[in-house]
């Protein structure tokens, strides 16, 4: 994960993940849990490399659920949901964006360390912007 310098655009290697929501009774569930947010304490986040990172992270995945099948993994940082930015939102805003009742699928952009490493290894040097 790249560290955030104020005023500079954030760059990351991301993966597109499309999750189809599962209907369980009256609810549409995605099958994972999120943690983090700008109103939360970033020091408690076990998945972030930089302990000042206030982004939204995936903390648990229900095995066999829609998220797991779509390829989401524990520890992923969610950068966008359906085009909405997730790097500077409160915890509640993230939850609401993910659980909109009139949407059946969500398209996430997620980043993880292994993605960056893979790109670095394959290209030899990380392309700088």
């Amino acid at each position: 994960m790249s560290t955030y310098t104020p005023g500079q655009p954030v760059t990351a290697v991301v993966q597109r993940i499309e999750i189809h929501k599962l209907r369980q009774g009256d609810n549409l569930i995605l099958g994972f849990s999120i943690g983090g947010g700008i109103d939360q304490d970033p020091g408690q986040n076990p998945f972030s490399g930089d302990k000042t990172d206030k982004g939204i992270y995936v903390t648990r995945i229900t095995p066999g659920g829609p998220a797991h099948e779509a390829g989401l993994r524990m520890g992923d940082k969610i950068m966008q949901v359906n085009g909405w930015d997730m790097t500077m939102v409160t915890h509640d805003q993230a939850r609401k964006t993910l659980t909109k009742k009139n949407e059946d699928t969500v398209r996430l952009l997620v980043t993880r360390k292994s993605l960056e490493d893979a790109v670095k290894n394959s290209m030899g040097s990380y392309p700088r912007q």
Partner: protein, 536 residues
Amino acid sequence: MDTESTYSGYSYYSGRSRGSHRHGERSRDRHKPRSKDSRSEKSVTINTPPAEPLLGDSVVRGEQVQDDNWGETTTAVTGTSEHSLSQEDIVRITKDLEDSVGLDCRRYFTLTLAVILGLLVFLTPLAFLLLPHLLWPEKLQSCGTACEGLFISVAFKLLILLLAVWALFFRPPRAGLPRVFVFRALLAVLVLLFVVSYWLFYGVRILDSQDENYQGIVQYAVSLVDALLFIHYLAIVLLELRQLQPCFSVCVTRSTDGEMRHYNLGQLSIQRAALAILEHYYCDFPVHNPALLSASKSRAAKHLAGLKVYNVDGEFPAAPAEGPGNNAAAGLAHSQSRAMIAAAARRRDTSHNELYYEEAEHERRVRKRKARLVVAVEEAFTHIKRMQEEEQKKAPGDVMDPREAAQAIFPSMARALQKYLRTTKQQHCHSMESIQQHLAFCITNNMTPKAFLESYLAPGPTLQYSRDHWLARQWTLISEASVTSGLKDGSIFVLKCADFSLVVTTKKIPYIQMSEEYIDPKSHKFVLRLQSETSV
């Protein structure tokens, strides 16, 4: 089985040899005592160049070591100290007698000087007032109201001055210091000069010209008394107030057992600082017990005893200690001692083992004796009961006063107490009489057995014991700087008495720079540390 050492003529032997030191320098088996009493091991003197007796100086206490170079020697280390204490006593008493005569002379001399100065100071204003009336009464103007008012003022100021001087100077002297007390001497000189100058002025301007203005003379006398009061104020500030603010931290170490204390002192001269330290010493330091030092001395003896230097090349330096001009011999002796130090360092020494087991055993013994003692004392205390007032009137049967009560219950605890004191080597500090007195005191004041025992379980300050333990009232101050100079950072001096010395080092208390920081009471705000996890 003794072999003669060829080069020095000294002989040695191996005593009751458990391991022999016959064959050269290495003796591995030397330190295997068969009994627990390791003090009975023999030691051999080494003929090192500083030809001193092995265990040091002439003021050895509690041990009789014979430094014998001529043949069979047994080093008998005895633990009794009555014998050596009485020798100490004699030495000290004679020294006290010799010095007290000289000190008393000096004391009386200063006392007479002070009295003369005081009389001069007090009689001068009165003389100023009376002399015109005696010498030229008819020419003198009569004294009006204002003038008579000044008489009252002179009288009261003189009274106040008298009381103040009595309070400050007429106190029993605490000590005799080696050098004169500089501030007091300066003040006395100042007062003398002052009074003499006033007399001069009076003599020239008033007596000679026979001045008639009596009011002026009275005012002159009043000004003298005022100035004397101000000099007294100066005396208070210089003698009493200046050293109150702590400025130095002194560290006092006793040379025999390393007891250390720290005190804060103000700006004092070295001799006054030494006096203050000695007064603290008597109250704070545990009493000096020479019987506790014998163990380390015997260990030191054993360290040197195992090695013997042989010179196989056949050189014969006659006596290495003789003659400073004997350079070759001195060099040879120097190399010998270095060889011995090297050998001692290499040798596998098991004396630490001995020390460890000995100390553990001693600890166990002390604790056992202490347990017996505590039980005995508690039992003894249950035998007596305080009688109430009403009972006293009713049954005047077997009634005892505290002293008799103490004597009645003392025998039941005497043996346990004696054994405990012997084990902790305190038996010479307490006599039977003092123990019984203390017991009577505790009974009178309703103390518990534990309170009675506390003064015997651990050594207390020197003041707690009987007078003969304070015999070291003769102290010597050893200092490189002059003893009337002030204390400085890093000054070191030594206070020596007959048995031990106190080494004093000084450090200046650092200058403290303090700054302030203001915190608004409304600025204390807190937030919760949130860590929520939501499933979607």
